[in-house]
């Protein structure tokens, strides 16, 4: 790969890793609070659909983003109600949310727009479009680093920049604030939090609310950032990959950034490698190239990261009285 190609792949990787990163951080907040979340996919779908639908109705990307966050947070609250208040099984709740969000989006979409669950394309004001950072054009002329700035750093939409800021904000929130301290504690030993006089319930709900909000942004990014409108099941399994990334990152925000970038990069490279003829092998079957990121993930997992230890109290409802 020459430098320009590399930059192109990197540029694509940034876009592809954005929804992963947002969903991964979403999962991080709830899992650090001790609620396992396999329902990221569903929450993203809810967000994407809400964004798509509201963008059409209002023509405002910002209102659509709020709607996306609202819809995802609603599902986050359902999840929290099931897992925290009702002490239900967290995995079942997540699976249920994936089904419900997918089904509901399609049913409502069909009933509102009559296009089989798809939302029509919103006007341009209803989308987050790419923004050129200052001096990008000039920088492009100034050698490889400038190109990097112009091609990779500049030219994304606002949500991308938010996503790449988010791990650092999350890190700060988790490690430097009272809320973060308590949230981390409640995922490790809720009884300790409880005896310290802090409400376990409220913390776990907060985790789910933040999770919902981030999934909402991820969904909005898919529906009105990258694409123009919601399409049935457009998350295409990204919620599950985000979960994998979360484990890969060992539930830490900054590593999550690197892991998601890695996944995005593998994905982008796979796109780019299609049809490329390798010496002595010939053209590699497309299917192999497409499986490559997954194969590499398995290899990395087997070889490098070793055991990932999840938050201790994860997956277990907190019961004070047996």
């Amino acid at each position: 790969m020459d430098w320009l190609t590399f930059l192109n792949v990197l540029d694509s990787a940034v876009r592809l890793s954005t929804p992963l990163l947002l969903a991964c951080l979403a999962g991080l907040f709830t899992e650090r609070a001790g609620v396992v979340d396999i329902g990221l996919e569903g929450k993203m779908i809810a967000g994407a659909f809400a964004a798509g639908a509201v963008a059409v109705f209002t023509g405002s990307a910002w209102i659509a983003l709020l709607a996306a966050i609202g819809a995802s947070v609603f599902f986050g609250l359902v999840h929290a109600f099931a897992c925290v208040t009702q002490r239900g099984n967290q995995i079942v709740a997540g699976v249920a949310i994936n089904f419900i969000a997918l089904g509901l989006a399609a049913v409502l979409g069909q009933s509102w727009f009559g296009q089989g669950g798809k939302t029509p394309a919103p006007p341009n004001s209803g989308r987050f479009t790419a923004i050129e950072l200052p001096y990008a054009a000039e920088a492009a002329q100034m050698g490889p680093i400038g190109r990097f700035y112009a091609d990779v750093v500049s030219g994304h939409n606002l949500l991308v920049y938010f996503a790449f800021l988010a791990p650092f904000l999350s890190w700060w929130l988790l490690s430097r604030t009272r809320f973060g301290l308590r949230l981390r504690a409640v995922g490790e030993n809720p009884a300790a939090v409880d005896t310290a006089g802090v409400s376990v319930t409220r913390l776990r709900y907060s985790g789910q609310i933040i999770c919902g909000a981030l999934c909402g942004v991820a969904g909005a990014y898919l529906a009105i950032g990258l694409n123009a409108g919601y399409l049935n099941n457009m998350t295409a399994g990204r919620g599950y990959i985000a979960l994998a990334a979360l484990i890969f990152a060992k539930w830490r925000p900054v590593p999550a950034l690197f892991v998601c970038l890695l996944f995005g990069f593998l994905d982008a490279s796979a796109n780019r490698l299609q049809g490329v003829s390798l010496p002595s092998v010939g053209v590699v079957p497309v299917q192999f190239i497409q499986a490559l990121p997954y194969i590499l993930t398995v290899i990395l997992l087997a070889g490098f990261i070793g055991k990932a230890i999840p938050p201790k109290a994860g997956g277990v409802p907190y019961v004070k009285e047996r």
Binding site: V92, A96, F99, V107, Y294, L301
Partner: protein, 367 residues
């Protein structure tokens, strides 16, 4: 799990409360139905009639249930070992390859009753194979099995797409990505044909002998888990890994064996659609059954009997749902996904929603 210790009568615990949960799920679904302008009661009637009201419907319900029994058992056995096998989908897919290779290779020579047992072995073997690598990685390297099995689902999809489009495809002129049809003599009879002489009419439903295999598998799994030493070790491992190590259970080996069984069960799901129904291997035939298996196992409390019941419930939803889509053009097939989700939510995650209220009514009498 975390019940107030008040004991409820058996029929309340296992009859009334699950029923209330289902009713609640349907009530919410009914709300959505009403919002889009249909009569919820009508819809419920159609679903139930569609699933159980006539022979062909019953046959289809059983057909779908067969898939879910296999995948549900697969997830359940892994759960018992403390493992979360999210890769049933991929294992089933690869299991289909096992079935197809047996059938394609031997169908000129063998009648169905000789071929079918080999196909069962093929399905189990290939499914197990696909679970083997994640299992070993978990056992030996501690790689998180949830991720590896997710990855293996994707890898299976790519591999099968390659095989079905480029390798096993009968070739020129064939549009559809799949193998050729198996010889008709190599395909086992359907239940409808077997039961017809007894006056049972299952219509044109594809339910087939795989159902029997599934039920036998459930029985076998029950025996394995609660009546054998291996099952004892699997459960010990699942409940308390360090106690298992203390008891001399070879942890790594039991992890791998449990996953092999899980993969084999998931792989056997392929028998039903591939050998029993389509008579050939088609692209993406598992159609999400591996994921439904997770819900089925959880709702069935990972007990084989529970898995069978939960599988029937989902079979009913699938068949009743298609009846619904047929009868009510205004309700798209996505409604079914929504209803499934609500059933999982209310009977699974919110299973205790009504328990306190019910307990208040029934506990005094029980005490």
């Amino acid at each position: 799990m975390s019940q107030p210790a008040a004991k409820l009568p058996f029929w309340v615990d296992f009859g009334l409360i699950p029923l209330l949960n289902l009713v609640a799920a349907f009530a919410v679904a009914g709300l959505v139905v009403a919002v889009i302008g249909e009569n919820p009661l009508d819809v419920a009637r159609i679903i139930i009639y569609g699933a159980f009201g006539y022979g062909e419907g019953v046959g289809f319900t059983l057909f779908y249930a067969t898939n879910f029994i296999f995948t549900g058992l697969a997830v359940a056995v892994a759960f018992h070992a403390g493992l979360f096998n999210i890769g049933g989908e991929g294992q089933a897919y690869i299991g289909g390859l096992g079935v197809a290779l047996v059938a394609l290779g031997l169908d000129p020579y063998l009648p169905w009753w000789l071929l079918a047992p080999l196909a069962v072995i093929g399905a189990a073997l290939f499914g197990a194979l696909w679970a083997y690598i994640p299992a070993v990685l978990q056992a030996k390297r501690g790689s998180h099995i949830v991720i590896t099995t997710i990855m293996f689902n994707f890898i299976a999809a790519s591999l099968m797409a390659y095989l079905l489009v480029d390798v096993l495809n009968p070739g020129a002129g064939s549009m559809s990505p799949g193998t050729r049809f198996f010889n008709a003599e190599a395909v086992p009879p359907r239940l409808s044909e077997i039961l017809a002489p007894f006056g049972v009419d299952l219509g044109g439903s594809p339910a087939n002998l795989s159902l029997i295999v599934a039920l036998l598998a459930a029985l076998g799994l029950w025996l394995l888990l609660w009546r054998t030493r291996l099952g004892y070790e699997i459960r010990a491992l699942g409940h308390n890994a360090s106690a298992a190590a203390y008891a001399g259970v070879p942890i790594a080996r039991v992890i791998v064996i449990a996953m092999l069984i899980s993969g084999a069960l998931a792989g056997m799901m392929a028998l039903n659609p591939v050998l029993g129904d389509q008579g050939r291997l088609l692209l993406e035939f598992p159609g999400g059954a591996g994921f439904v298996g997770i819900a089925v196992a959880l709702m069935g409390r990972s007990h084989p009997l529970g898995v069978i019941l939960a599988a029937l419930l989902f079979g009913m939803l699938y068949q009743g749902g298609s009846e619904l889509a047929f009868e009510k053009p205004s309700i798209s097939r996505d409604m079914l996904i929504l209803i499934q989700g609500l059933v999982i939510l209310f009977s699974g995650a919110l299973e205790n929603l009504f328990r306190p209220a019910v307990a208040r009514i029934f506990a005094p009498r029980a005490a």
